[in-house]
């Protein structure tokens, strides 16, 4: 053997790994960079969106929600309503099994729902109607209600935090405020705990024993959940530029939430397709602290309305392309059944800072200090806070803008102290389309004082209307109530909607049939 042959052989061997790395990702593996790190695997314990998305992979729900918000049977085969709607018996589909091989029984469902009802706002409301929730046998569970609850199936299919995922009884017996240590569901994917490295990798294997709904088409969380990948990996990459580069190189297949400047870059790559992850937009809100000066003054909150230009806030998040945001946005997600224009005139009429300043004077604002709190590390709230800070300065508020990381904001916003004792006056954040679809999980719209979401407005009329909505007999009645809710909210101003924006997602262009709405992993396949 010649020396040169040996050297060439060595060089070829050394080059092998390079060649391997240049190959596309394996056909049966889907690699995705999610919006955030999966820290907790218990979707009832925490409301983080990433944990909810994880929940939809591993667990299943009795009912699924279609893209047009119709609850349809998922684990349920169907239901029977008796006693004027006071008794609802749900029957489970055949063949449902948990990942540990055990069959799904009605007792698993009742225990899971009981745990869920302790944490979810819709669940808590439902609980107040429930006289008894019992497993009649292994296949049937029954709700016995004090009064008819027309939104029962919507609650059981809810997509917003937290969906009522079904777990084995032994896990569902865990206190709702204690985190589960084990993940066993009956959903289309199995969680692989041995590979779980929070902050780096979350791996799932296809649940070969999963029995999809036999009919229909996939729509949001409803319909057959048919999986086309043997394995899904969530790769946690915190750096946007690195994620984009990995997508361009084919090291990953899907980048869930690229920021706007990265979207521009990715659009130039023919191997990458950009689309709306959810056809419905997220809503931005300007939230007031109702407990202290200056925004405990309703007139002052109203005074801001002529100054709000929703396009300013939204273009700060998604850039100048108007197709990516909506203005004239009210209290409910645009494009959903309860969205309406009642009472929105102060937001949709001519914009005028002078008018706002005049109203501020009329409201008696005399340079009281106010504090705006906001994060620097999360795109949408950060962008809205910057625009808001500028607006407050131009209006002549005695502003203290306190920027910090999200973790600090989350703690600081729970403070009920006045400004001079470290409290806050106003903040910006955004909510997913599902949160604002209806009043059930719409917590900025609550008016229940000390128990309300941060800001703590006391608006009894909003609470009355919310209660009425839960028992409204049909959609027309619900829409009438929604109009009234919005009219009251625009008068009392618990918060100001500052527009709605579309969140885009980026995938390798050979991926097709993605189910839109959330990062869902059934339906999607390689072309």
């Amino acid at each position: 053997m010649r020396r040169r042959d040996v050297l060439m052989g060595a060089a070829a061997t050394a080059a092998l790994p390079f060649a391997a790395l240049a190959q596309p990702s394996q056909n049966r593996v889907l690699k995705m960079v999610p919006q955030a790190n999966l820290t907790s695997v218990d979707p009832i314990w925490t409301t983080a969106n990433i944990t909810r998305n994880h929940g939809y992979m591993v667990f299943d729900t009795l009912y699924g929600m279609t893209a047009d918000f119709q609850p349809t049977p998922q684990m349920a085969a169907g239901h029977v309503s008796d006693d004027g709607g006071r008794s609802i018996t749900i029957t489970l589909r055949d063949g449902l099994r948990f990942h540990d091989g055990e069959p799904v029984r009605a007792i698993d469902c009742t225990t899971s729902l009981t745990r869920w009802m302790k944490r979810s706002p819709s669940g808590q409301k439902l609980a107040s109607f429930v006289e008894a929730l019992e497993a009649l046998d292994d296949k049937r569970l029954r709700f016995r209600l004090k009064a008819p609850f027309p939104l029962l199936f919507s609650a059981l299919a809810q997509v917003s935090n937290s969906p009522p995922f079904i777990m084995p009884e032994r896990l569902a017996r865990t206190d709702a405020f204690t985190q589960l240590r084990e993940v066993v569901g009956s959903g289309p994917f199995r969680f692989l705990p041995g590979e779980f490295n929070s902050g780096s990798l979350v791996a799932y294997a296809k649940n070969e024993a999963y029995v999809p709904v036999p009919t229909g088409t996939p729509s949001l969380t409803a319909g057959p959940k048919i999986v086309h990948f043997d394995r899904v990996e969530l790769q946690i990459i915190t750096d946007a530029a690195t994620s984009a580069a990995a997508l361009q190189q084919g090291e990953i297949d899907w980048y869930e939430q690229p920021p706007p400047e990265i979207q521009t870059l990715l659009r130039r790559n023919r191997n990458v397709a950009i689309s709306a992850i959810d056809p419905l937009p997220l809503t931005g809100v300007m939230r007031f602290n109702h407990l202290h000066e200056p925004f405990n003054n309703k007139k002052l909150r109203q005074a801001l309305l002529p100054a709000i230009d929703q396009s300013d806030f939204m273009s700060a998040i998604v850039g100048p392309d108007p197709s990516l945001y909506k203005t004239g946005v009210g209290m409910f997600t645009p494009g959903t059944p309860l969205a309406n224009t009642a009472g929105l005139e102060p937001l949709t009429g001519p914009r005028s800072l002078d008018r706002a300043r005049a109203l501020m004077r009329e409201a008696g604002y005399t340079d009281q200090p106010m504090r705006l709190i906001g994060p620097t590390d999360i795109l949408a709230p950060s962008a809205m806070t910057q625009v808001g800070a500028d607006l407050f300065k131009r209006l002549g508020f005695n502003l203290d803008a306190a920027f910090s990381d999200w973790g600090t904001v989350v703690q600081r916003r729970t403070s009920k102290e006045p400004v001079d004792k470290g409290g806050w006056s106003v903040l910006f954040t955004s909510f997913s389309s599902f949160d604002f679809v209806d009043p059930s999980a719409h917590f900025p719209l609550r008016g229940n004082g000390a128990s309300a979401w941060n800001g703590w407005p006391t608006i009894p009329r909003l609470e009355e209307l919310r209660d009425a909505w839960f028992v409204a007999p049909d959609l027309a009645a619900q829409q009438a109530i929604a109009r009234e809710i919005q009219t009251v909210a625009m008068d009392e101003v618990p918060y100001i909607p500052v527009g709605a924006y579309t969140s885009l997602t980026a995938l390798r262009s050979n991926l097709v049939d993605r189910v839109s709405g959330l990062a869902l992993f059934w339906g999607i396949r390689r072309a």
Partner: protein
């Protein structure tokens, strides 16, 4: 010498105790509430309070500190508030990538920087010297993340030679393992190379002006022998000291490098834990870093005896 080593190892105990007290107190005083983060937007104040109580965060400072120290004394670093996983397991999952990155960076940096510094001193005042010093200034001035992005752009995106991101465990083969570490190690090593090259040059210049070097030349010793056997060995003590001090630079730089190259190491674990206020993880990692730093200094002190026989412990 063994008595010295034992004394030094024992001395780490009070050092670690002070670090523990300091870290715990800082976290206690820092703003942020993991219970509020966990509870989410819809939680009532009562929910947040229940979660805080279930995590033991409502207990007084001294009780929490005492419990933590007691657990550590029993070899238990605690459990992550968010993942519910033992901190020791989370560290175990992350230690290999960070260790790999640091080892590769160290080897790369020392093997480039020391010869650079030696040659610069040898060729003092020439264009080679100026080029080395120019590189050193550049190494100090350009942030790690800028170097990282540039390297990824050129060698991964444009040339397609190396992966953009990620880490392959050593057990899957030295080739893939090394592929993933080349770019991060170069990015992280820049400032380290600059530091070592500068101190090597300065020390070598001093040593090269000594009488015994002139004597070696007069006796006909070759240039390589003079530089690397006579001069470098005598210049080694300050160089080794800087290498040791530079470990802290590496630890700090690893946080940024791991983020840019998506390496699942301890640096990213620390940042993620800080952002979430995952106190047990922050405390565990900082304690580990402090221990490593103390240990590295001990190793450096012991290494002096290899280079300078006059040093005895």
């Amino acid at each position: 010498m063994w008595a010295y080593v034992i004394r030094r190892v024992l001395a780490t105990i009070p050092v670690m105790a002070v670090v523990a007290l300091f870290v715990f107190s800082l976290l206690y005083l820092a703003p942020g509430d993991p219970a509020a983060i966990i509870a989410g937007d819809q939680a009532t104040p009562q929910d947040v309070e229940r979660i805080r109580a279930s995590l033991g965060l409502d207990r007084p400072y001294l009780v929490r500190f005492g419990a933590w120290v007691w657990d550590i004394a029993h070899g238990d670093l605690g459990t992550s508030i968010f993942t519910n996983l033992p901190v020791s397991r989370m560290i175990e999952q992350r230690i290999e990538p960070t260790l790999s990155l640091m080892v590769v960076t160290l080897i790369l940096a020392i093997s480039i920087a020391v010869p650079m510094g030696v040659v610069a001193a040898w060729k003092q005042g020439t264009i080679i010297d100026r080029a080395v010093m120019g590189f050193a200034v550049l190494g100090f001035s350009v942030p790690v993340f800028v170097v990282g992005y540039l390297l990824a752009y050129i060698f991964a995106l444009e040339l397609d030679w190396l992966p953009v991101q990620g880490y392959t465990p050593f057990e899957r083969g030295i080739g893939p393992w090394f592929q993933n570490l080349i770019l991060p190690a170069i990015a992280l090593g820049g400032v380290y190379i600059a530091l070592i090259a500068r101190i090597t040059r300065a020390t070598m210049l001093e040593v090269l002006s000594q009488d015994y070097i002139r004597t070696a030349r007069a006796k006909g010793a070759g240039q390589v022998s003079i530089l690397f056997l006579h001069a470098l060995k005598n210049a080694a003590v300050p160089i080794v000291t800087v290498i040791g001090i530079g470990i802290a630079l590496l630890i700090g730089g690893a946080v940024v490098t791991e983020s840019v190259f998506a390496i699942p190491g301890l640096g990213r674990l620390t940042v993620d834990a800080i952002l979430r206020r995952d106190y047990p993880v922050i405390q565990g990692v900082v304690l580990l870093f402090s221990f490593v730093y103390v240990l590295v200094n001990l190793v450096i002190d012991l290494a002096y005896t290899l280079f300078d026989p006059r040093i005895r412990y």
